[in-house]
């Protein structure tokens, strides 16, 4: 069980605000902190890891106090058993893939096992500068896991990667989370990713948790009765007689839908279907 209750004043680009969160996370859960950038998501993760100090509050990991402003306890990151995966990988450029892991834990069998599991065993003697983004992030994941962390903190780990690699690594992260019985917190602004990985979501806005629940609770709005709905963005509107036809981008699928006058280009919209049952057909993607 992880308990976090912290406050910290932050400077946002739209003015100062206070990060103020209070939550508990059970062992084995996958939590996602979702929200736009500049609302304190990464800071929250850094506070949990001990890289930043909250103004006040309390952090406890499985009965061990990591931070307590009343008792003036503040364990440095070294003493907190966390695995942190950075957005831009943060691999040690002076060490090979193998050495990046061995720096943490010299157990050769563990290193080889985890390298094989992440399918990067063949790259073990390569330096990070010679790897692709996806490969780098696999190394970073392996390095974070080799210490058997009590919690895995993922700070937008896949946002620097191509879509196809991102999808594959999402599967890998999910697999590792389950296999190692990890407790994980993922910071992300990608709904698909959160939906796929998390079993619990916080929406963070101006430092506060404004919504929480399962991804289903959060992302599927209840005011549409049809079960079939998608988020999309209006990229074009053209008049067609007395109605307007909008071109909407739903995760790279473009659809044309008749809309009213209240929809503008650039709007985020929920496209739903009412009144008939959608047909689902299995297709094979290239």
């Amino acid at each position: 069980m992880i308990k976090v209750n912290v406050k910290k004043k932050l400077k946002g680009y739209k003015g100062d605000f206070t990060l103020d969160v209070d939550f508990e996370l059970e062992k084995g859960k996958f939590l996602s902190v979702f929200g736009k950038s500049g609302h304190g998501k990464t800071t929250l993760l850094r506070i949990i890891a001990g890289l930043e100090k909250p103004d006040e509050g309390y952090i406890e990991f499985n009965g061990k106090v990591y931070f307590d402003s009343n008792k003036k306890i503040n364990l440095p990151p070294q003493k907190r058993n966390v695995g942190f995966v950075f957005q831009d990988f943060a691999l040690f450029p002076n060490m090979t893939v193998y050495e990046n892991l061995a720096f943490v834990n010299r157990n050769e069998r563990n290193i080889n096992e985890i390298l094989k599991k992440l399918e990067i065993y063949e790259l073990k003697d390569r330096y990070p500068s010679t790897l692709s983004g996806g490969q780098k992030q696999r190394v970073a994941l392996g390095r974070a896991l080799i210490r058997n962390p009590e919690i895995l903190l993922l700070d937008e780990p896949l946002s620097a990667l191509d879509e196809s690699i991102r999808l594959k690594l999402q599967d890998e992260i999910k697999k590792l989370h389950n296999e190692y019985g990890l407790t994980s917190i993922l910071v992300s602004h990608d709904k698909k990713e959160v939906f796929k990985l998390a079993d619990r979501v916080f929406v963070l806005e101006n430092g506060k948790i404004i919504k929480q629940g399962t991804p289903r609770d959060i992302f599927i709005e209840k005011d549409i009765s049809g079960k079939f709905s998608f988020y999309g963005q209006v990229i074009d509107i053209r008049p067609a007689g007395i109605v307007n036809i909008a071109t909407i981008d739903i995760n790279d699928n473009l659809v044309e839908v008749v809309v009213g006058n209240d929809v503008k280009i650039g709007d985020s919209v929920l496209v739903g279907v009412k009144g008939f049952n959608p047909v689902v057909k299995v297709i094979s993607l290239l």
Partner: protein, 226 residues
């Protein structure tokens, strides 16, 4: 003039002085640059300005104050005389001390830019992986700023070899003690002994060029891709 009559001791002194100065400066420079790069404290700007002084002061000004400090009546001179039994000024140790002060910014400033060039997140990654600040310094930070370390070493070494004014002020020109090659050249010219001056100078030019060449070649090799 026969080349076998040349007194090579000034070269040996210059080399010894430069090597000792550089080695000591590496050990002083790394912690100083580390704190100036990563810590924020009250007198930081004050210290930065102070450490840059040797860059703009004429060597004679620096040498003059160092002479007062290290002379018989200077506090450092007094302490040294008690400890070592002889004066600090006009001795080789005095030259080493003066060179350290004189070459200090040439070591510290390259190191500071080196420290600042190391991405913050690899340092933080090391901390979250349980590594102490000291281990992170030696295994993550320093290995990823080798070119900066090498630049600091090169500049300090070259600057000490080429030093003249400060050495003359605090060391005088004592054979086998403080008469380094730059001073030996000056003296030879003063005595119109141009052939000796020529030999000293050309050896110094070739030596300096080779040293720099080797260091720059090494620097290429050390460049770390991030």
């Amino acid at each position: 003039m026969d080349i076998s009559n040349i007194d090579w001791i000034p070269f040996w002194l210059s080399l010894k002085l430069a090597v000792m100065t550089t080695v000591i400066l590496v050990f002083i420079g790394i912690p100083v640059a580390y704190f100036l790069s990563y810590k924020n404290f009250k007198f930081k700007t004050f210290l930065e300005a102070l450490f840059s002084l040797p860059l703009i002061l004429p060597p004679t000004v620096l040498g003059f104050y160092l002479l007062l400090l290290m002379g018989k009546n200077g506090w450092l001179g007094k302490i040294w005389e008690k400890l070592a039994g002889h004066q600090l000024a006009f001795h080789f140790e005095g030259l080493v001390f003066a060179s350290i002060v004189f070459s200090f910014p040439f070591m510290v400033y390259p190191l500071i830019s080196g420290f600042k060039s190391v991405p913050k997140n690899i340092i933080e990654a090391s901390y979250t992986l349980g590594k102490s600040k000291v281990e992170t310094l030696f295994k993550v930070i320093l290995p990823n700023m080798k070119p900066a370390i090498l630049t600091g070493i090169t500049l300090s070494f070259a600057h000490t070899i080429g030093e003249f004014g400060v050495v003359l002020m605090v060391g005088g020109s004592i054979d086998g003690q403080t008469k380094v090659v730059s001073i030996a050249i000056y003296e030879a010219v003063e005595q119109l002994d141009y052939s000796t001056a020529h030999i000293y100078s050309i050896v110094l030019v070739v030596f300096s060029f080779l040293t720099l060449l080797i260091l720059y070649l090494l620097n290429k090799k050390f460049e770390v891709k991030i």
